[in-house]
Amino acid sequence: MPRSENDIAIVGFAQSPMLRRSENTEAEMMLPTVQGAIKMAGLEKEDIGFTVSGSCDYLSGRGFSFVANVDAYGAWPPINESHVEMDGAWAMYEAFIHLLLGHIDTALAAGVGKTSNSDPTTLYTIEMDPYYLTPLGADPWSLAALQYRALLDSGKATERDVAEVVARNLANAKGNINAQVSGDVSVDEILAQPYVRNPLRKADLPPVTDGCAAVVLARGKKAYDLCERPVWITGFDHRVEPHLPTLRSDLTVSESTRLAAEGAGAGNGPIDLAEIYAPFSFQELILRESLGLSDDTVVNASGGAQGANPVMVTGLLRVIAAAQAIMDGRANRALAHATSGPCLQQNLVCILEGDE
């Protein structure tokens, strides 16, 4: 399909090492990542029309770290900059919308998370509904386990099915040089693990990861100037559900994912490859169904969140993994998914395509 000046493409990206514990601050993780993405696009920092990042100060516990992070951009003379307290995939959505306005032709989106400073089971409990959930200590593992149990009780999946998801992702992560965790683990070994929250096992939990990722977007002809094979964003949507998981009629389907996939036009053609952000292993099965993926689609060739889970970055890593596959010619039409909130509350779907 011929591209127009209203088409937006990914023309560069970079990611930091994915580590259990980085010795660097968020800004120090960001600088080589952001500047690396700009360099891959063949640009200088002065060429970027709009810059946006996604991060959360409560992860590192350092107030206004999102402001300190601006140092990584070399923001002098002053730049046009924004920030979302969301995964970098949503930062990319803001950059995409900015480009659609038509007054700039390049933008940069990043995500950064120094997760290792905090205790996720405490932190996310405090982010829940302050009246009905936080006083009960409704922690993320328990909320995920409630969704997992609902999936088992629905008869759609067994614990063995879920263990197979874990084993496949960890094996796939072996081929991903950026993965933090990878390896050959048998399904029986996984099933022999004790429950941390019945039916959730340690193997079902994502790793704790510090990391950063960035992408550079360009519009229309500019994308061809910068990149031999631009990765065109042909669909982009995100939807959110009620914040209380008890108000969702069925935890085994992700209605917001279904709507986002529909909005992004996922079904308008075959999907060669999908990168899905499933923080907890079993959620991959719910998401596959809600995204409407066929058995022909390769899912999480990168290992997904099981391989590395830098919170505020993992969704953007899915976009990068899908974009890499298109640039490499391993796929021509790919889907990237990101999520946020308890039990897959909010979901984003991005459709990426290469030129035939």
Partner: protein, 339 residues
């Protein structure tokens, strides 16, 4: 890099919240304190616990209160084998979705039972705290297996709320614990301070001298390596200052007005902030005043308050900056300077 040998001391970020509940939740928690669980009728269904708005449309949910429970039926559940300090039960327990009799949506709550009792369909009932144990919070109840599975009496009947519900506020103490680590540049800066040294890094691109626990030029967006390090003399100029009249708060040690300065160290292009002035009263401090660093004696130096990214600046290694008595630099050289 998995080196955690440079971890900082644990840091507690605490918020002693007192939340106002609003009309819907004050009605709910006041009823709960009296031993009655309620929901709100929204269209053709009863949402319990009640919401202020229809979760499907966002419209005002109104105040058609309905008695629900105290018995209900477990849907999905999980088992917490090792409760944390945040959990309402300090022995192994279950979390479950419980659809209370008379309600159409479940409540998430804790169930005290044995793990092998848990299954979808289990009948449970609320146990209410009494007397001084009542907090007006959601943890005023906990669920246990129902002694009698028969339907709850009165469930589904209308509930008449008092005009002024008794429970209007809720205390919620939030305590987050962090363990950050000293970044490499912070460790180098800390070591220098302990030795009574100051250094900067000169950017090869813009030629600016950057100081402190900062490994990068934030103008050019590049890292400045070890080769860029330049030792600095401990002299400089007050480029800006403020006089602070202390207000009492936990941790405040000052009782009299005090001054905090930005110092432009000779040879540097970025100021060092939050510095003390010694030897003259706050009223005599002025922009352009030449000062020299006064290190704490070697055995008394510490970097306990030093954080990453120049937080804490010179920390406990420096007593302050003493005016040298030299003629002032022209103040107009500094008035437009922000950093």
């Amino acid at each position: 890099m998995t080196d955690t040998s440079y971890d900082m001391e644990p840091f507690h970020l605490q918020f002693p919240f007192t939340r106002s509940l609003g009309s819907t939740m004050s009605t709910f928690f006041s009823a709960l304190a009296e031993g009655q669980i309620i929901g709100v009728r929204i269209g053709d269904r009863v949402v319990a616990p009640p919401m202020e708005y229809d979760p499907e449309t966002g419209a005002d949910a109104g105040s058609e209160w309905v008695k629900v429970g105290p018995k209900g039926t477990v849907g999905t559940w999980t088992w917490v084998p090792e409760p944390t300090r945040l959990h309402p039960v300090q022995e192994p327990f279950a979390f479950a979705f419980i659809t209370l009799d008379g309600a159409d949506t479940p409540i998430l709550h804790a169930v005290k039972a044995s793990e092998d009792q848990l299954a979808a369909g289990l009948r449970v009932e609320a146990q209410f705290k009494t007397g001084d144990d009542v907090n007006g919070r959601i943890d005023d109840i906990v669920f246990v297996p129902a002694s009698d599975p028969s339907p709850s009496e009165g469930a589904g009947e209308a509930y008449t709320a008092p005009a002024e519900p008794e429970v209007q506020m809720m205390d919620a103490f939030c305590d987050l614990v962090y363990v950050d680590n000293f970044a490499p540049a912070t460790r180098e800066w800390a070591a220098a301070l302990m030795q009574g040294r100051l250094f900067g890094r000169r950017c090869p691109k813009c030629d600016r001298m950057i100081i402190g626990a900062n490994p990068m030029c934030s103008v050019d967006g590049i890292f400045l390596g070890d080769g860029a390090v330049v030792e600095l003399e401990g002299t400089g100029v007050v480029s800006n200052f403020t006089v602070i009249t202390p207000t009492p708060y936990p941790g405040q040690k000052e009782t009299e007005p005090f001054v905090r300065c930005s110092i432009m160290i000779d040879g540097a292009d970025a100021v060092i902030g939050q510095q003390e002035i010694v030897g003259v009263p706050a009223s005599e401090v002025r922009v352009g005043m030449r000062v020299a660093i006064e290190w704490a004696p070697e055995g008394e130096r510490n970097v306990d308050d030093l954080g990453n990214g120049n937080h804490g600046a010179t920390a406990g290694a420096v007593r302050g900056w003493r005016p040298t008595g030299e003629p002032d630099e022209p103040a107009e050289n500094y008035v437009e300077r922000m950093m």
